[in-house]
């Protein structure tokens, strides 16, 4: 990759995140608090609206589907969080599972990430169509992926761990070259 290209986009495998899949009815009393509490210090704030992700204290909760959430946290906190949540949700019909190892995480940094995604999938990743706080599940190349903006000029995405090699090659390819520069225009 040329320096010019590297300036546009850097690709990194990781970080290894703790991931917990939670399925339960959204109206379960105290769910938001449970999640917020689990992440620490975000009372009731941690029930993201559909298609969104809320973050705090190095953790986050993403909306996966109407009755499914994904908790993201530092790896070492996973076990504790699992326990705590199953305690708090005891008695409620729910499913909790550690899926940290089932998924591979990638981080794309640099202004080129929008074009990289646009080369690989049908999602509208223009600033108008995809902004901070949004959590998009879609297709990249021939596999499913989910991505969100994790910082200025930084995108985080994950896919199934079995296709991590494919995804890495795919993203490296998409990071190469200049691209049409369609998102560079002011306010485009």
């Amino acid at each position: 990759m040329s320096e010019r290209e590297a300036a546009r986009l850097r690709l990194r495998r990781g970080p290894g995140l703790g991931m917990i899949a939670l399925r339960c009815a959204p109206h379960v009393p105290g769910l938001g608090e449970a999640l917020g509490g689990a992440l620490g210090g975000m009372r009731g704030a941690a029930l993201p609206e559909r298609g969104r992700i809320v973050s705090a204290n190095g953790g986050a909760v993403a909306w996966m589907s109407p009755d499914e959430w994904l908790l993201l946290c530092p790896r070492e906190r996973t076990a504790g969080l699992l326990e705590r949540l199953s305690r708090e949700l005891a008695g409620e019909h729910h499913l909790l599972a550690d899926v940290s190892d089932a998924r591979a995480v990638f981080t794309l940094s640099g202004p080129g990430w929008r074009e990289a995604l646009a080369r690989l999938g049908p999602a509208d990743v223009s600033p108008a169509g995809f902004g901070a706080g949004m959590f998009r599940r879609s297709r990249l190349g021939q596999v499913a992926a989910a991505f969100w903006i994790s910082g200025p000029d930084e995108l985080r995405l994950f896919c199934r761990s079995s296709v991590a090699g494919y995804m890495e090659a795919l993203l490296e390819g998409a990071a190469r070259g200049e691209g049409p520069g369609i998102f560079d225009a002011p306010g485009a």
């Binding site: 599972a97 509208d124 070259g177």
Partner: protein, 1007 residues
Amino acid sequence: MSLRLSSGGRLIERDRPLDFTFNGRRLRGLAGDSLASALLANGQMLVGRSFKYHRPRGVVASGVEEPNALVGLGRGGRFEPNRRATTVELFDGLEAVSQNHWPGLGFDLGALNDLAARFLPAGFYYKTFMAPRGAWEKLFEPLIRRAAGLGRAPEEPDPDGYEHFHVHVDVLVIGGGISGLQAALTAGRTGARVMLVEQGPHWGGRAPVEGVRLDGRPAAEWVDAALGELERMGNVHLRRRAMAVGVYDHGYALLHERVAAHTPGDGRPRHRLWKVRARRIITATGALERPLAFVGNDVPGVMLASAVRDYVVNWAVAPGRRTVVVTNNDDAYRSALVLREAGLEVPAIVDARPQADGPLVQRAREMGIRVVSGSAIAGVKGRRRVRGVRLCAHEGEGAVLEEIACDAVAMSGGWSPVVHLWSHCGGKLLWEEGQAHFRPDPQRPPTGADGAPLVFAAGNANGRMETAAALADGQVAAEAALKALGTGRERGGARAPLPAVAPEEVAPMLPVWLMPRKAGAKARMKMWLDFQNDVKVSDVELAAREGYESVEHTKRYTTLGMATDQGKLSNINGLAVLSEALGQPVPQTGTTTFRPPWAPVSFGAIAGEARGDLFQPVRETPIHRWHETHGAHWEPVGQWRRPYAYPRDGESLHDAVIREVRNARQAVGLLDASTLGKILVRGPDAGRFLDMIYTNMMSTLKPGRCRYGLICNENGFLIDDGVVVRLDKETFLCHTTTGGAERIHEHMERWLQTEWWDWRVFTADLTEQYAQIAVVGPKARALLERLGGMDVSRESLPFMEWRAGELAGFAVRVFRISFSGELSYEIAVPAGQGLALWERLVEEGAAFGIMPYGTEALHVMRAEKGFIMIGDETDGTVIPQDLGLGWAISKKKADYLGKRAHQRPHMTDPNRWKLVGLETLDGSVLPDGAYAAAEGVNENGQRKVQGRVTSSYFSPTLGRGIALGLVEHGPERMGEVLAFPATGGRIIRARIVSPVFYDKDGEKQNV
């Protein structure tokens, strides 16, 4: 002789010469040239040969519609056939070769066809080559095939790269002429997301060529200003060399961008395929000029009048020094004027109209050009080059009145809007008498997902042929599109005044479909409609005469419009000739269907990045790398790759499998079972749910226990199997086959979401969260005990039970299940620790002679035990009852998926084939998929059969071939010998035996 003029040429840079070769000849062109203009500048008028008669062919157009000037470009892996010279941007070192001739372009033996042309009319091949029997196949077709094709295919793989790009816009404007620009301005000013694309390398379309003045300034200046404004807008994206090739349903538009086609090998992708999601689309795609049908209209040197204009104005190239213009409209007079202004001779303008007047005609006369009205061309002199024309009265039969010497002819039959993209998605057309062309019918546009109009045509493409009207139409189309968006934006944009354009007064054109109008049969055989495919007026008339009256029949019978230009020049003329032959108005004949792409798209661009390693995803288990470094021979299983076996140096695959089986049976083997599906099912209704999904009773399974289960679809057929584990009261873990993981999870979710949505059950696919390792063989327990940790003794972990615990410090779940018949433990750990545990097992197992084994050993061992394999014993037509699995179908349950299906007559038929074991009498291995023949033949003369082999292996354990099969009444025919006809006439005899070949009482797995 075509030539380069000493002055002019708005697109060329005279101080930047470029060297290129044509058929090996070194030639020189200029930066800004197209390959066509550069060839003409070098006097190269003859550029190819036609498909059928191998007639000499010269450049006839200046753009994508070119049917003749097709060349082979580049060399080696970068060779590309059939490129239109008119759309190839010249670059230094370009190599081009002409096509479809032998031995040479000048002297081509294929041209013999031309002498026989009269014997080769449209569809002649349907009427002959039938006798004697076999002659078609052995003699005629091979001859025809030898003549097939135009250019040759490349012989090496394509070294270039391609990419895709997805983009979402409110309005996609197609066409960078003044109408498109005006549309983009109008839409862009409202803040809408706009993309404006132009197929060529230049903006502005024809306006700059025509010398149009906007607000008193040359068109080019207005174009530059418009581009400036558009570029400043943040919400508009401009793209040149991006050809819109297709409009698909719901506003999906395909653009084919030539990124580096003119700078080969510069590292950029050669083409980029844009997938645009547009809420509305504006087609400002201009119009195409029609040729005229007269005798010899295909001779090199006969060109479209507008093309002549383009070459002179854009590239300072003229097709000849003396050009006769022939027309049925005013527009062609512009070419005459341009030629004259360039100091070239125009001996005459031949105008089919009875009288020609109007401003353009006047100006031509004022410049001293002779205008011959009411006349036509009776014939063109010359074969490889125009040498002159013969004139006649247009209303007559072609009696020659005079001859005019000339070296070029500029023809114009009027203009047809480019309606392709409008039509791709169902847009309808209407016939415009005055212009004798089809244009988009605003009342019947293509509609989008919302049922509202999706595509809006603008400018020439909409039949607005004058500059002022075309400009205004761009604005109108944009406003209509914005309105249809329903964003209220159409009010947002300030309506900027349109530039003032001097009014053009144009005299009406006269529809002319062949000239002269009463030309005889012989003449009609020399009037070309489709230059590339050699379809003539007489061919279309023949089709009509023979009853091929539908325009589609005519097209298919004559091949009119089926050439690489897809009839861009020939279709309208062709169907007009057909209409006259049928004595019906053109609209009644209608058009053929317009299909994507508007112009050909490279397969490379369509494939995009998905080549080589990225062709399809490869799924890898956590232990994949280890397999790789330990010589695994891979077997693709879905998108996974699983080790088939681990052959050692000098060891054959077959021997490796035998070794792996023996070792697992005698010592201990290791299998990476991580690909098996692992679906978590949890909730108060989980048991009830699994009772529906599986044919077995699962709700009664006790926590800590495992049960082998079968899954049928509603049609009763067995689709998957696996071990179900009860983790706790509300939680089950369902193992599926490798291929079944997603399929079965989706199957479960579908039933939960679409049928039993009130049941309290959640599922999760945890297949990839865990690595699963099978430790198999008599020494398996000893090995685990050596690892240390949980108690794996028979007492505390019996067969078909599971425990959670620790092994060698790993937190694991251990399932005592066996697919091999041996003492076997399947150990699950979080995927991240899979490799570490595997390596630890290999290390500690050394003392026990541990060896990994692959899928083939797995198959052999399960076959020795008579265990079925989904995909081998099942094929989508087999029910559990066929496989002796009736025991796994609960009789107690009122319902399960497939239960009703199992009650149907054919499913309860006692004659269904049933699972048995098969042993060849000679110990050999039965061929895979062999059938057991029965006596006699059925009503269709097919040999009757009574069974078939479903799996067949050499069993190292028994030292002989063993097989499983389905046989009519099989279980009742133990000991009977069946005959299996194999390929090569051999007949292999095999005895029906029990499907369990090894450890019939299952003691080994239960120790």
